[in-house]
Amino acid sequence: MRINCPLCGERASDEFSYLGDATPGRPPSGASLKEWHDYVYLRDNPRGPHHEYWHHVGGCRAWLVIHRDTFTHEIFDVGLACDIEESVG
């Protein structure tokens, strides 16, 4: 697997570390226990396209959101997490 970092270009995947699913949204303060439980512990865990956080820890140290197929390991898209978070609001 090679990852095309928006800042550094295409690099070997072992320069990156993996955090996990990027889709769960942090609940607002005052959310119920169930909402927090679902956010912290439950995952869709799809077999197919998956948005996920990676960290270019051995490079520019930017946090990335990668759109990747969990079955084929094909990478469709790589973006900077800060851009994506801003556009989501």
Partner: protein
């Protein structure tokens, strides 16, 4: 047919042409009392104990490929009961007890070999942690022995004791731990279940779960719809996909774990040895190949194959522990899809859906759990409540805060 010396001699006279198949390749009926989805070790053991212990015989095991083609046939076959926490050790000790009589129980040679599992330690702090774990094991009635460096040197002369960075100071040994032949475990349980009328149905993928008024009524499969009163999920890395068919989300992620085997050698490693300064475990199969593995690749995967950085990482760990490995050629490496849970411990429980039962979250360690997992899951399905041994493995423990986090890793499936 019972396997015995008498039958062996009898079949020798007929040129071994009269052995009968160990189990029937069944075709689906229209309805079963219990359907178990997943023909790995856990699913087959569950069906076996449902019939053996609970007198339920109208059972089908549905397997999308061939039985044992998943993690059951891909693991490094280590069997041990060396946990620290209250929720884990009684369950795994029960599993080890079932292993110890499994061959007599099944009338099948699963090649259970109690050769001893040794966890190496490389620092004083690690020694203290192992002493604590060993004491917890002893208090639960298991066996544990702390080995000093010189004792280990006599037993395992091939290790790099004076490694500058990770000197080996000693190890925690569980003499009753060891290995078993993974395929034989699958075949032995399949045969035992089949002898008790369980239908083992291969090439039968479940594509939907049918419900009415919040209760299970059956499944859709690639071989048609099949009715059921109760359904047990034992699909390991595919748990989230099956749960989604019933509208559930699970505290599970699927990750790939790789394993390796070298060319065959004369006897070299008599035990199971694990590196304490990295994640690496090794044993020698009866064919002579060295069988070993390490960490998960680390990212969500359903691919049943890993990537090269982890191959390099595992082999580096192996070289740090046992430099002579470098002279060997790796024959094969492969991957399996692990059902990694949010606290590193399994789930054997009823679900909120009437008639749907869940067995998942086995992470790296589900092979050794096979007998007790099947035994406890059968109890839970038949009696509608957990046995004492699987009572801590509840699905709602993440809601109530009763997590069983052996590693202290938090809700990060890829670090457990």
């Amino acid at each position: 047919m019972k396997y015995s010396l008498f039958n062996l001699i009898r079949n020798t006279f007929s040129g071994h042409s009269r052995w009968t198949p160990a189990w029937r390749d069944a075709t689906p009926k229209t309805h079963y009392d219990v359907i178990i989805i997943g023909g790995g070790g856990h699913g087959l053991a569950t069906a076996y104990y449902l019939a053996r212990e609970h007198g339920i015989h109208n059972i089908a095991v549905l397997e999308k490929g061939y039985i044992g083609g998943g993690n059951a046939g891909r693991n490094t076959t280590i069997v041990r009961a060396n946990y620290l926490l209250e929720g884990n050790q009684p369950f795994y000790e029960w599993s080890l007890k079932l292993w110890e009589s499994l061959e007599q129980e099944l009338n099948y040679n699963v090649m259970m070999s109690q050769r001893g599992v040794i966890n190496l330690y490389h620092s004083d702090a690690q020694r203290d942690a192992y002493v604590r774990r060993g004491n917890a094991m002893l208090m639960h009635g298991s066996d544990a022995v702390l080995m000093k460096r010189d004792e280990l040197r006599d037993m395992l002369p091939y290790l790099d004791y004076d490694n500058a960075r990770f000197p080996i100071l000693g190890g925690l040994m569980q003499p009753r731990g060891g290995t078993a032949r993974h395929d034989a475990v699958v075949w032995g349980y399949a045969r035992g279940a089949d002898m008790r009328d369980v239908d083992i149905i291969q090439n039968c993928e479940v594509t939907g779960i049918r419900m009415e008024n919040g209760a299970i009524t059956g499944v859709d499969t690639t071989r048609g719809a099949i009715g059921a009163n109760k359904i047990g999920l034992a699909v390991a890395g595919n748990s989230s996909r099956l749960a989604a068919m019933a509208g559930m989300r699970l505290p599970i992620e699927s990750h790939v774990l790789q394993a390796f085997v070298t060319e065959g050698l004369k006897p070299l490693i008599d035990h199971v040895v694990t590196f304490g300064a990295g994640h690496f475990y090794i044993s020698q199969s009866d064919k002579g190949g060295l069988v070993f593995g390490g960490d998960l690749d680390g990212y969500n995967s359903y691919a049943q194959r890993g990537n090269l950085p982890m191959v390099e990482h595992v082999l580096e760990s192996g070289m740090a522990m046992m430099p002579s490995l470098g002279r060997l050629r790796v024959l094969r490496h492969w991957g399996g899809i692990m059902d990694m849970s949010m606290d590193g411990s399994p789930i054997i429980d009823k679900t909120p859906i009437d008639g749907l039962y869940l067995n998942t979250g086995w992470c790296y360690g589900g092979f050794k759990a096979t007998p007790a997992s099947g035994w406890c899951f059968a109890h839970t399905i038949a009696r509608d409540h957990a046995h004492r041994y699987n009572a801590p493995y509840r699905l709602d423990r993440f809601m109530t805060g009763n997590l069983i986090d052996e590693r202290g890793g938090g809700p990060r499936p890829n670090v457990h």
